[in-house]
Amino acid sequence: MNLFQVSDFYIDRIVNSKSKSVLNGSLDKPRIKALLLDKDTTGTISMCTTQSELLEHEVYLIDTLENQNRDVMRHLKCLVYAKPTDETIEHLVKELQDPKYGEYQIFFNNTVAKTQLERLAESDDLEVVSKVEEVFQDYQVLNQDLFSLDVRSSKLFSHQMIWEPSGLADTTHSLISLLLSLKVKPLIRYEAGSRLTSKLAKEVMQEIHKNERALFDFPVMDSPPQLLILDRHQDPLTPLLQPWTYQSMINEYIGIKRNVVDLSKVPDIDDSLEQVVLSSKQDPFFHDTMYLNFGELGDKVKQYVSSYKDKTKSNAQINTIEDIKQFIGKFPEFKKLSGNVSKHMAIVSELDRQLQVQHIWDVSEVEQNISAHMGDSQVYQDLKGVLSDERVSGFHKLKLACIYSLRNATSPHMNEISATLAANVSPEELNFFHHFNSVFQTRTKSANTGKEREDLISELAKKFNQKGQHKSDNVFMQHVPDLSAILSDLSKNKLPEDRFPFLEKPGARTFCQDVIIFHVGGTTFEEARIVHEFNSGMAGDGGGKIRTILGGTTILNTREFLNDCREVGQGSTELTDLL
C-alpha cells in the first residue's frame, strides 16, 4: 500500500513496453520513443517521475496529444498515455488517421469503453496500433499514502449538496481506478446521515460488481480491506483552522498544485525560484520535513543551511589539483544541494513573512483555544479582541466567528459575536456567517441520534491522543481532527457500525487491516500527517497490522473550504425566494 510504488510500477510498464515491430522487420529498433500525454496524465506523470528518469528509458520526445502541430517522425515508436475521455479519443482518432510516428502503443489510465475502442479500431486503417492496455491511475499521488482527485467541490455537487451526475460518475471511476491499482476489493463503509457518502458508496459497489470477474478477481483475504468514505462536512473544523506543518502551510500560504509551488508573487524572489517543484519522492529534505511543525522546521532548515555552508567552506580551500578532482566528482550532487537549499530557504522565509503579515500567530492561538476549550470565558474575551483588531483581515475574523459558532452553537454570546463581526467585516461576509451557521446547525440537529455519545468518545480519544503525542503543550496544535479518533477506533476494530455502516455487512467477523479513507469534499494535509503518523506507528510497534491510505476529491486550504461552504445551499435559498 505505497502509492509511489504503484505509480513507479505503472510508469515502468509504460516506458519499457516491448514493441512487436513487424512493420519494421528489425527487432525493437529504433529505441528512441516519443511519449504523448493528455492534460490529465501530464499531471500524474509529472508528479511521479522526472524528465531525466524518462530519458533513462529513452523517452526523448514528450508532447501532448492535443498539440496539432507535431512533426512527423516516422521512425519513432510512440507511447500514448491518456485518460479515456471522449475528448482524448477524438484526438487519438485524428492521430491514427494521419499518424506522425511509425508505431503506437496506447495506455489508458482507466477503463476504456467498448464504443471508444471501436471508434479507435475503425480509424486505425494503417494498423499502426500494436498495443492497447488499461493501467489504473486516474488520480494524483501526493504522498506515498495520500492521493487526490484534484476536483473542486463546485464541479461535483449542486448547491443543495447533492451529487451532479457527472461528478458522481467521475469520482466513482477515479476511486475504482485507485482500488484496481492497489488490487483491492474492499468492504465499503460510509458515514451514516450523509447522502453524499452513501450515494458514492453504492455507486462504487455497483461498479465493482459489474466488473467482478473481469477486473476485481483478486484473492479473497481473511480480513478484507475497507474503503471508508467520509463527508468533509462532518468535520468542518479541521479545514477551517490555520495549519502549522510544512506541507500544509505551503498549501495554505503559497499554494501547491501538482507539486509545483508558485513563488512568483514573493517580493524580490530570484528568477530561478519563481516556480519550484516540491516532491517528497525526489527531495530528501522535503521528505524528512514535510510533517514537521514550523518550530521544528526552522531548526531543520538552519541545520541544512549550515551543513551546506560547511561543505562550501571545505571546498573553498581548493589548492591542489587533487582537491579539485574530488570536488568535481561531487559536483553534480553539490549543485543539486545548493539549488535545494535556496529553494527551501525561499519557501520558509515566505511562510514566515506571511505569518507576520497576516498576524497568524494571534489568530491561530485564539482559533486553537476556541476548538480545544469549549465555553471558556477567557477564550471569548480573546476572540473579541482579535475580532476588533484592525490589523487582522476580514477573512480571518469571519473564519474565527465560524469556528466559534461550530464549537459554541448555543452560546449566549452568539448575538454579541454577530454584532462585533458586523462592525468589522463587510455585509456580504456577515451574511455568509449567518449562512454558515444555518448550514452547520441544521446539520448537527438532523444528525443521527447516536451523535452525542460518539462525541463523548471522540473527546476522550482526543485527550488521549494529545497526551500520547506529547503535543498538548503546543498552543498552536491543540485541535485534533476527528480522523485521529476514527483511526484509533479502527486500530481497535471498534469503529462504531451505527455511525459508519457497512454497505454490505461481511458474513464472517473481520478485522481492519488495510483501509482506504476517502474524504468527499476534500481532505487536508493536516489529516495526511495524522495518517502518516498512524502508519509509521503501525509499521513500528504495531507490527504492520494496519496500513492506511488517505484521499480526497481535492486537498483543501482554509480559503477553499470557506468558499465551498459559501456555495452550499445558495441555489435552494434562491428557489425558496421565488416560491
Binding site: V6, Y10, R13, L23, N24, P30, R31, I32, S52, L55, E58, Y60, L61, R70, D71, M73, R74, H75, L117, E118, A121, D125, E127, V129, K131, V132, E133, E134, V135, F136, L182, L215, F218, P219, M221, D222, S223, D268, D270, T312, K313, N315, A316, I318, E322, I324, K325, F327, I328, G329, F331, P332, S342, S349, N493, K494, R509, F511, G543, G544
Partner: protein, 519 residues
C-alpha cells in the same frame, strides 16, 4: 506457553463493563465464561500438551471448569490446530526471528501458528485464518496468531498494479472493420489497373495512327465509364464528400475510380487531376505495364477523389516512408547507445580490478588491467566523438531539435556520472604506472601547443579548476545577496571574505592560462 499468549492482536480486554473483547481476534463476547470458551475453541488455548501443562494460567483453568458443561456440545466441532511443525524453543538459546532477542523464559516464546518458527511475544502478534492443518484459508479458517512473514505472504496482501490488456479485443474490432475496407481497396485497385493499362493502350495506339489520335479522348472516356459507372449528373445536388451544394461556380466532377460526383474546391481538396504516371509509380506493386511509347504520356491526368486516394495510396506512402533510412540523429544515437552499453559493461570490471591492484600492486594481471582501461578510455573517446557528431547535425524540424537536445543532455549526464569518478582512478593508476594514459589521437592534438607555456593537460586542469571556482563564486554571491536581503549582516560579512579569497584564486589561474582562459 500458549495459555499465556497474553495481550494479542488488540488491546487487552477491558476487565470492567459487561462486554469483553477477545484478545486475539477482538470478537465481542458477553462474559468471561464465553470468552474462555471462545479462546479454547477458536484459538486452541485448551489444547495443552503435557510438557507445558504446568504453565497453564490458573485463572484460565478455573474458568474452564465453569464452562466445562456448556462447551460439551462445542467440543464436537472443536478446532484442533496442527502443532507438530512447531519448533521447540530452547530456553537461553532460541532467538526471536524478528528482533533476535534471546528467549530465556518459556513465557516469552511463541510459535507462529502457521510456520512454527519461534518469536518473542511482540513479534508474533498478528492474526491469520488457518485450517487445522495450519494452512492459510481465508474462507473457512479460524483466527490464529502469526508472525509478520506469514502475515505478509498471504495471497493478495502485497500485490498491486492491476492492468488489463485490450490489444486482442482492439485487433478483433479492427479486423472486422478492416475486412470491408480490404474488399473496397481490392475493388479500387482492380479498377485502377484496368484504367491505367487501358489508357496506356489507347495512348500507344494513338501514337501509331492519325485516326486513333483523333479518337483518343472518346476512347478514354468510354474506357473510364466502363471501369466504373458514373453517377448521373442530374442525381447529384451536392458534393458527395464535403456536402457543399453544386452551383454555377462549384462545378461537378466525376471520380474515375468510384464514379461519384465530387467538387473541385481547393480548400476541401475533394478531388484532383493527378498525373497518371506518378500514380502508377506510387503503386508500383500493382501489375501495370509501363511501356509508354509516347513521350506525352507524362501529361496524361485522371481525376480521383480524396477518399479513393486515401484508400489506394496512404498505406503505400506510410510503408515507403518507414523503409526510408533513419534520420542521421537516430543513426548516431544507435551508435552512442551501443558505445554506452560497452562502457557500462566494462566500467565495473575496471573499477574492481583497480581496487585489487591497489591492494596488491604486484599482482600478475597488470597487463589485463591496462588493456581493459585502454578499452574503456577508447570507448569514452568514441562516445565523446559521437556526441560531437550529434551536435553538428542540423535538425530537420523542431521535433528533431528537441530529440537532439535531449540526447546530448543525457550524454552529458552519463559522462558526469561515470567518467568523472573514473578520472581520479586513472590518475592514481597512472602515477603508479608512470605511463601516459592519453590516446594517440589526443596526443597528436597535444602537439599543436598553446601560446603560453602550458601543456594541454595543464590547460585542461586549470580550466577545470577555473570552472569550479567560478561556480563557487556564483554560489557565494547568491548567498551574500540572500543574507543581506534577510538582514543577516554578520553572515554576509564572512561570506564576503570568502568571496575575496575566491576572486584572488580566480585571477591567479586566469593569469596563468592567459588567452586560453576563456573557452
Amino acid at each position: 506457553m500458549n495459555a499465556v499468549d497474553g495481550p494479542g492482536y488488540l488491546d487487552e480486554p477491558q476487565k470492567s463493563g459487561s462486554e469483553l473483547n477477545c484478545p486475539v481476534c477482538a470478537q465481542t463476547l458477553h462474559d468471561l465464561a464465553k470468552l474462555n470458551e471462545h479462546l479454547d475453541r477458536i484459538h486452541g488455548f485448551g489444547e495443552v500438551s503435557n510438557e507445558d501443562a504446568d504453565s497453564v494460567n490458573t485463572q484460565l483453568t478455573r474458568s474452564r471448569n465453569v464452562v466445562e458443561n456448556s462447551s460439551k456440545a462445542a467440543k464436537a466441532n472443536r478446532f484442533e490446530l496442527k502443532r507438530d511443525h512447531w519448533i521447540k524453543p530452547v530456553m537461553g538459546k532460541s532467538r526471536c526471528r524478528t528482533c533476535s532477542k534471546s528467549l530465556t523464559q518459556a513465557r516469552q516464546a511463541i510459535n507462529c501458528r502457521r510456520c512454527g518458527e519461534v518469536y518473542c511475544k511482540n513479534h508474533c502478534n498478528l492474526i491469520i485464518k488457518l485450517n487445522s492443518n495450519a494452512e492459510y484459508n481465508p474462507l473457512t479458517g479460524e483466527w490464529c496468531k502469526c508472525c509478520i512473514n506469514c502475515f505478509g505472504n498471504r495471497a493478495g496482501y502485497n500485490e498491486f498494479g492491476a492492468v488489463c490488456n485490450k490489444t486482442s479485443m482492439f485487433k478483433e474490432l479492427r479486423g472486422s472493420k478492416v475486412e470491408d475496407k480490404q474488399l473496397r481497396k481490392l475493388q479500387l485497385e482492380n479498377r485502377f489497373i484496368r484504367l491505367a493499362n487501358g489508357i496506356q493502350q489507347i495512348n500507344n495506339q494513338s501514337s501509331k495512327s492519325m485516326l486513333a489520335s483523333i479518337r483518343k479522348y472518346t476512347e478514354i472516356n468510354k474506357l473510364e465509364r466502363s471501369v466504373v459507372p458514373w453517377t448521373p449528373d442530374e442525381a447529384a445536388f451536392a458534393c458527395s464528400l464535403c456536402s457543399k451544394p453544386f452551383t454555377l461556380a462549384l462545378r461537378k466532377h466525376h471520380c474515375r475510380l468510384c464514379g461519384k460526383v465530387v467538387c473541385n474546391e481547393s480548400q476541401t481538396n475533394c478531388s484532383n487531376q493527378l498525373p497518371l504516371m506518378s500514380l502508377i509509380r506510387a503503386a508500383s506493386d500493382l501489375p501495370i505495364s509501363t511501356e509508354f511509347v509516347d513521350n506525352n504520356a507524362e501529361d496524361v491526368q485522371i481525376r480521383i477523389c480524396s477518399a479513393c486516394v486515401r484508400i489506394l495510396f496512404i498505406k503505400r506512402k506510410f510503408t515507403r516512408e518507414l523503409s526510408l533510412p533513419e534520420p542521421s540523429i537516430l543513426r548516431i544515437y544507435e551508435n552512442m547507445r551501443t558505445t554506452a552499453d560497452v562502457i557500462l559493461s566494462i566500467l565495473p570490471q575496471v573499477l574492481n580490478q583497480a581496487e585489487e591492484f591497489s591492494a596488491t600492486p604486484n599482482a600478475p594481471d597488470v597487463a589485463l588491467l591496462t588493456k581493459m582501461r585502454r578499452k574503456l578510455l577508447d570507448s569514452f573517446a568514441l562516445y565523446d566523438r559521437l556526441t560531437k557528431q550529434m551536435l553538428k547535425i542540423k535538425p530537420k524540424n523542431p521535433a528533431e531539435e528537441r530529440i537532439q537536445r535531449a540526447i546530448v543532455f543525457r550524454a552529458s549526464m552519463l559522462i558526469q556520472e561515470h567518467m568523472l569518478p573514473l578520472r581520479s582512478l586513472t590518475n592514481a593508476a597512472s602515477t603508479q604506472n608512470s605511463s601516459h594514459e592519453t590516446t594517440p589521437e589526443s596526443e597528436r592534438s597535444m602537439n599543436q601547443g598553446y601560446g603560453n607555456n602550458l601543456s594541454i593537460k595543464e590547460v585542461k586542469e586549470y580550466r577545470d579548476q577555473l570552472m569550479v571556482l567560478k561556480e563557487q563564486k556564483f554560489l557565494v554571491e547568491n548567498m551574500i545577496a540572500s543574507a543581506s536581503k534577510q538582514r543577516k549582516f554578520d553572515e554576509a560579512e564572512t561570506l564576503s571574505g570568502n568571496l575575496r579569497e575566491l576572486n584572488e584564486q580566480v585571477e591567479m589561474i586566469a593569469r596563468a592560462l592567459g588567452e586560453e582562459g576563456f573557452s
